[in-house]
């Protein structure tokens, strides 16, 4: 990451010219054919949310909220770069976007995408306030955010209330497309239950049955649901939980928790923390000798943990959405890695991939719908068609709006095995999504209304 990539916080990329153009369009439209046009809208596409105001000019606006400060800041920056690249590719009709959304030529339905960025600091309130502003002031046609599931759940509710489509950033909680699912929300990445289903068999095969596990769990919806899913899956092989250390998001020190883990007699430490919390707790686990006593597992892998912990992920198993070396198997991943690295100077991580694919899928669905009218776009997703992604073909389940996609199991490479400075992981297995999924209503999802 270089400093020149820094974007001012809370910038709005709407130029005065664009506003004037949009304003002129609205005035002109109201004089002449508007009465006819609005009647036509009224029949099939009555005004809803920011429609048609948000897509009536030559451009459409997207509200992006990512954590640029706080414990998830590094992941947020990676995610933001993925969004920026996707918008750039959509606006220019890049070859990679066309592979995912064949009807995209330039922009979405011919409209140039503009965007604003707000720092959520991984706090639901900040994210909701920023997105509320993007919706009311900029008439955002789509909003995104996440990295913290608490933010994702809050934005789900905002999206449903405001009737604006929410494309989720990284969110690992079962609740996001479970009990807190909404008609207007969509999630591309895998989550706690799928992570557990994918990695548990690998762990049981590697470490055996009837093991004692200690958990480090961040105290919010993501942490609790991932821990619960891991416990359920591992219990099938007789694994027990000897301690579950629950800590606040952004805890400044893990020593007290790690002493409890060190004295618990566990065989395996399952670290559910994410972002800087995962980095700090893993580093401190090493300081306290915990990693010498027990094996470490990261069931929901945090991007950048390998480089930030400086070797502590060697030999460690983790479940992840994306690791760049799968480019050997997936041509679209290779294209993505190349364009991303050329622009930003490093191999993209999970956040960037999730961001890019989520936007590309949204663009495809709008093109398929042939309109920004939200219920039509939602119905395009709900067709459940097979669509391309960077990790092969995937589809969105109509019942809960969760993308069914593979989970990648990786193991940290030893330093001598690394072919280059970013070759941190060996891909052990790519587990197909279908076999990992719970029933759509297993976590209590009841999608709301279209209108």
């Amino acid at each position: 990451m270089s400093t020149k990539d820094f974007l001012p916080r809370r910038t709005l990329n709407v130029s005065r010219r664009t506003l004037l153009q949009a304003g002129a369009g609205l005035i002109g439209g109201s004089v002449l054919p508007a009465s006819i046009a609005s009647r036509a809208f009224a029949e099939d596409h009555p005004a809803i949310g920011t429609f048609p105001a948000g897509s009536s000019g030559s451009s459409a606006f997207i509200g992006i909220s990512v954590p640029r400060t706080g414990t998830y800041a590094v992941q947020g920056e990676d995610e933001l770069k993925g969004y920026q690249l996707a918008i750039e590719h959509i606006n220019s009709g890049h070859e990679l976007i066309k592979k995912i959304s064949p009807k995209t030529s330039k922009g979405v339905l011919g409209k140039d995408l503009k965007f604003g960025v707000a720092d959520s600091a991984a706090k639901p309130n900040e994210a909701v306030q920023a997105q509320q502003r993007f919706i009311s002031e900029n008439k955002a046609v789509m909003i995104t955010g996440g990295t913290s599931s608490a933010v994702a759940v809050a934005l789900n509710k905002l999206a449903q209330r405001e009737k604006v489509i929410f494309v989720c950033g990284i969110s690992g909680s079962n609740d996001t497309t479970g009990k807190d699912c909404v008609r207007y929300g969509f999630r591309q990445n895998f989550f706690g239950q799928t992570a557990a289903a994918a990695i548990a068999p690998v762990l049981i095969k590697q470490f055996g049955k009837n093991k004692k596990a200690a958990y480090l769990t961040p105290d919010y919806t993501y942490g609790h649901t991932v821990t619960k899913s891991m416990q359920d899956r591992l219990a099938e092989a007789g694994w027990t939980t000897v301690t579950n250390q629950v800590s606040p998001l952004g805890a400044p020190d893990y020593s007290s928790y790690l002493l409890n883990v060190a004295n618990s007699g566990a065989d395996v430490l399952i670290n559910v923390n994410w972002g800087h919390d995962a980095v700090l707790s893993t580093q401190q686990a090493k300081q306290f000798g915990v990693l010498d006593k027990m094996k470490l597992v990261v069931p929901y892998q945090v991007p950048f943990i390998a480089r930030e912990t400086g070797g502590l992920m060697q030999g460690v198993y983790a479940a992840t959405d994306y690791w760049w070396t799968i480019e050997d198997k997936y041509p679209l991943a290779k294209m993505f890695n190349e364009t991303f690295e050329k622009k930003f100077g490093y191999k993209p991580e999970w956040g960037a991939e999730n961001a890019y694919v989520s936007f590309a899928h949204w663009a495809r669905m709008v093109e398929e719908a042939g309109s920004f009218y939200p219920p039509d776009v939602i119905k395009a997703y709900e067709k459940g068609e097979t669509v391309p992604s960077l990790v092969g073909d995937v589809h969105y389940r109509p019942e809960d709006h969760q993308c069914v996609r593979p989970v990648i199991i990786v193991r940290g490479k030893m330093e001598k095995e690394m072919k280059n400075k970013e070759d941190y992981y060996e891909v052990i297995e790519i587990v197909a999504g279908d076999g990992l999924m719970q029933k759509p209503d297993a976590f209590g999802c009841h999608l709301g209304d279209y209108t």
Partner: protein, 291 residues
């Protein structure tokens, strides 16, 4: 049933956590006690101490030089901040002081983020202090053990300066009656500048001493600032011994609570602070406080 080895381990860990909190809080409380300024940039100065040390370590590979550079850089920053900005706020309402120091803190954090990004940086402990020490009843990281000693020495030195030197005498007299001290021919404002520098240095020193324990990020001072305020309020705002007592109490509460209900470990110090405020509004060792 209480697991006694773990209980003793947590007691000790509470001491180590508390020592560091006491050191950071002492700087905050000295500045408030002397100048009446609640410095909300204190957490950012703690963070800058860490980064200044990190840069020095990157170039020299010497931890001792990193500690010296981290402390002196933040001291210089504190003096500059006092000369350029803070001195204009001595006679302004507390709200103005809070806002200006809070704003400065945000600026410092953003500047550091711009230069170093949000990715964490590591300062390893000196080779001699790496690894784990067996103390019979527990295994404990050697460096964290050393931190307890280092902090004790640093707090002792601060105590001697404040209570056993002429400068300390002037500072304490200045708190009581700055007009009288001024009329005795002593430049009170120069003393104030030195005090601000010392308080800042304590934060910078704590920042680089703490760097090998945590991985450095621009936000590392944010959480510490909140805890530091809890410590200062428990001990008594403006009281140096109070900061030490408050630090130790908060450290022990965090550690012991984590045994029984880990989810509440960082909440309980706030409960303790509330209790203290109800029973002793000026804190355990605080006096009437400043008007």
């Amino acid at each position: 049933m209480i697991n006694w080895p773990n209980f003793v381990s947590q007691l000790f860990n509470g001491l180590a956590l508390g020592a560091l909190l006491a050191l950071i809080s002492s700087g905050l409380t000295i500045i408030y006690g002397t100048l009446g300024v609640l410095n909300l940039a204190h957490g950012a100065m703690f963070m800058i101490g860490g980064y200044a040390g990190y840069v020095t370590y990157s170039y020299t590979g010497s931890f001792i030089l990193a500690v010296i550079a981290g402390s002196l850089f933040v001291m210089a920053l504190g003096v500059a901040m006092e000369r350029i900005i803070i001195r204009h706020f001595y006679h302004r309402p507390h709200e103005d002081q809070l806002l200006v120091t809070f704003g400065l803190g945000i600026c410092f954090v953003e500047i550091v983020r711009l230069i170093f990004t949000s990715q964490s940086q590591v300062v390893p402990p000196p080779a001699l202090l790496q690894g784990i020490t067996s103390m019979g009843f527990l295994f404990y990281p050697t460096y964290r053990l050393a931190v307890v000693g280092i902090v004790a020495v640093a707090l002792g030195a601060l105590f001697l300066i404040l209570y056993r030197t002429r400068l300390g005498m002037i500072v304490r007299a200045g708190i009581e009656d700055s007009v009288m001290v001024d009329s005795l021919g002593i430049n009170v404002y120069r003393v104030f500048m030195i005090v601000f520098g010392i308080g800042a240095m304590a934060a910078g020193f704590a920042g680089i001493i703490n760097a090998p324990v945590v991985s450095l990020t621009p936000g590392v001072g944010d959480d510490i600032l909140v805890e530091t305020f809890v410590v200062v309020v428990i001990g008594g705002v403006g009281s140096f011994p109070g900061a030490i007592l408050g630090g130790l109490i908060a450290g022990e509460i965090i550690s012991i609570t984590s045994m029984f209900n880990p989810g509440y470990a960082y909440v309980m110090p706030f409960a303790a602070m509330t209790l203290v405020l109800v029973l002793r509004p000026h804190g355990l060792l605080g006096t009437q406080g400043r008007e």
